[in-house]
Amino acid sequence: MPITYTSGEQVEVYRFSIPFTVLVPATALFLQAWLPRQFPFLAMFDLPLLVTIFFSIARRNPISGLLTGAVIGVFQDALTGLQIGIYGIAKTVVGYGASSLGVKLDVENAGARVLVTLVFYVVHQIVYFVVARAMVALSLQWSWPHELGAALMNAVVGVFLFLALDRFKQRT
């Protein structure tokens, strides 16, 4: 298994330029709203989630990770017709979890990234489902095959996306 345990001293922490930090989530949100209009099946991909995971793992700072997730999630909520905060809560949890995991584990290689993205996609969907049903009373239906299939697809896309975004990392 490519995931390796690392001590706090061993892990590398990255930072990003401000334009990159703003433009990448904004582009992800834009594509998330734009692409399903062209190809409706693309709604199964959650680009803002992938971006949240990428920033959280690279920065390895839980506070930074959860805040990134919260901001991206809230803006994603704003584009839907639903109440603001459902995606926000789900992505806050994912941002916190991914950055905490990034501190403990080296998740720089493709295999680890597939696994991490897959797990966090499912976590995200579970939190979203619980919040949407319990607080907003949406009548959602949970389907494991659908969720696992979507998780796998997102994980595959995530690997390529992370590879592209890796070029903009700056060592601290």
């Binding site: 904004a26 949100l29 834009f30 998330q32 709203a33 734009w34 692409l35 399903p36 209009r37 409706p40 709604a43 199964m44 839980p62 506070i63 959860l66 805040l67 919260a70 809230v74 803006f75 994603q76 909520d77 704003a78 584009l79 839907t80 017709g81 639903l82 109440q83 603001i84 905060g85 459902i86 995606y87 926000g88 809560i89 806050t92 949890v93 916190y96 905490s100 979203y128 919040v131 949407a132 607080m135 907003v136 009373a137 949406l138 009548s139 959602l140 239906q141």
Partner: protein, 419 residues
């Protein structure tokens, strides 16, 4: 204390951020409208995203237009010919339906019905989606600036799309009918059963509140009932694809619909910006007979002695074309175009006005000087009593005679009749 805070700093921040969002969510759930802060966030997000979407849609449309309008014109002539034939057929069909509609209006008027009519619409382009499987909304490029308001109906030429949910300065959110929070009053076209059209979490469209013991057939059309006061009555919503009995204690049928509008491929939509409600009067639309339209397409009629008995000519017209069913008292004594002199009235449809029971000639724009010599019998009825404005039938500027029906030779002098 400080060491505890430092140790659990991450967790405390997490709990604080989650708590803030849960609180915000609770406030929004309790209120039906947006709070000021949530409204602001939506405005920021939409203002950031929609300009780029508009640019992309513009580029996409321009490229598509360039391709379709300049490079890809293969088969257009053949298609044009086919469409012209279709138009001819549809015009005749339209006349027949008009007659039926008139009959229905008369009956509705007798019952004192009031009906909503679409008075004004605005065309908008779909520029984006909500980007979520749970929320089926689309963004359009028209907003407050264009007079769009929440709860306006959004339709296409195929059928109902949804309603305006939120309005921003130059864009709006439209809630599609397949969203689970949408609801449209629907009526089955044949059985006239009324229900509520809703979306499901899976994105399907269903018709609810139809009792188990009712007979509903697959393939039946569902239209808007007008009961929701958003959509005017009679717009197509969808077609029944599956009917199943409710399970257990469920008293209602489970009816699944295929939406009339292609909701997953929306490009341009119409927003109903103004609805008018008016009493139905029998003379809302004066019918035009199929014979009249056919007469425009026939070769010109040669000169005959004027004042031919109207009854005879009416009979001739009836033989020339399938006359729509329905009460037709008013046309009994009305002179028909085939009986009239030269081309001045051959090209002009006779428009019956029910209130007066008379006929008058709608002179086309290209009528020549001979039109002044139209038979006197056509004029008085319209002069005695002002008739309601008739529905004008679009008449071709120069009616083309059918080449294969040489009833009469064309006049030698072009001024003698239409060509």
């Amino acid at each position: 204390m400080e060491s505890v805070l430092g140790r659990y700093k991450n967790l405390i921040v997490l709990v604080a951020v989650l708590f803030a969002q849960v609180l915000g969510l609770a406030v929004q759930v309790k209120r039906t409208t947006d709070t000021e802060s949530s409204r602001l966030i939506r405005v920021w997000a939409v203002s950031t995203i929609t300009p780029f979407e508009k640019v992309l849609v513009w580029v996409q449309t321009s490229t598509g237009n360039l391709w379709h309008n300049y490079f890809y014109l293969r088969g257009v002539r053949a298609e044009n010919r086919e469409l012209k034939q279709q138009i001819e057929q549809l015009r005749l069909e339209h006349v027949r339906l008009n007659e039926d509609a008139m009959q229905a209006r008369r009956l509705q008027a007798l019952l004192g019905f009031r009906e909503q009519f679409i008075a004004q619409t605005t065309v908008a382009q779909v520029i984006g989606s909500g980007g979520s499987e749970q929320s089926r909304i689309v963004f359009i490029d028209k907003g407050e600036r264009h007079g769009i308001k929440p709860d306006m109906a959004v339709i296409t030429d195929q059928g109902v799309v949804g309603k305006v949910l939120k309005v921003f300065r130059s864009s709006s959110q439209v809630l599609r009918i397949d969203d689970q929070s949408s609801g449209v009053g629907g009526i089955l076209e044949k059985s006239r059963l009324q229900g509520i059209v809703r979306g499901t979490p899976a994105g399907e469209v269903v018709l609810e509140k139809i009792m188990n013991d009712e007979a509903v057939q697959a393939g039946e059309i569902v239209r808007t009932s007008g009961g929701d006061r958003i959509f005017p009555k009679g717009l197509p919503v969808g077609t029944v694809t599956r009917v199943a009995n409710g399970t257990g204690s469920d008293l209602f049928l489970s009816i699944r619909l295929r939406p009339a509008a292609n909701l997953s491929k929306l490009e341009e939509v119409l927003i109903v910006t103004k609805l008018e409600e008016k009493d139905i009067t029998p003379s809302d639309a004066a019918p035009v007979r199929a014979a009249d339209i056919l007469s425009q397409r026939l070769p010109s009629v040669p000169e005959k002695p004027a004042m031919e008995p109207a009854a005879n000519t009416g009979a001739k017209a009836n033989q020339a074309a399938p006359v729509p069913k329905g009460p037709d008292k008013n046309s009994a004594g009305a002179p028909q175009p085939n009986a009239l002199k030269t081309g001045d009235t051959a090209a002009a449809p006779v428009v019956r006005t029910q209130a007066t029971g008379a006929a008058r000639v709608a002179t086309p724009a290209t009528s020549n000087a001979n039109s002044e010599s139209a038979p006197a019998t056509l004029q008085p009825a319209a002069e005695h009593k002002p008739a309601p404005a008739p529905v004008k039938v679009a008449t071709p500027a120069t009616p083309t005679p059918k080449p294969n029906t040489p009833v009469n030779p064309p006049p030698a002098n072009p001024q003698d009749g239409p060509q």
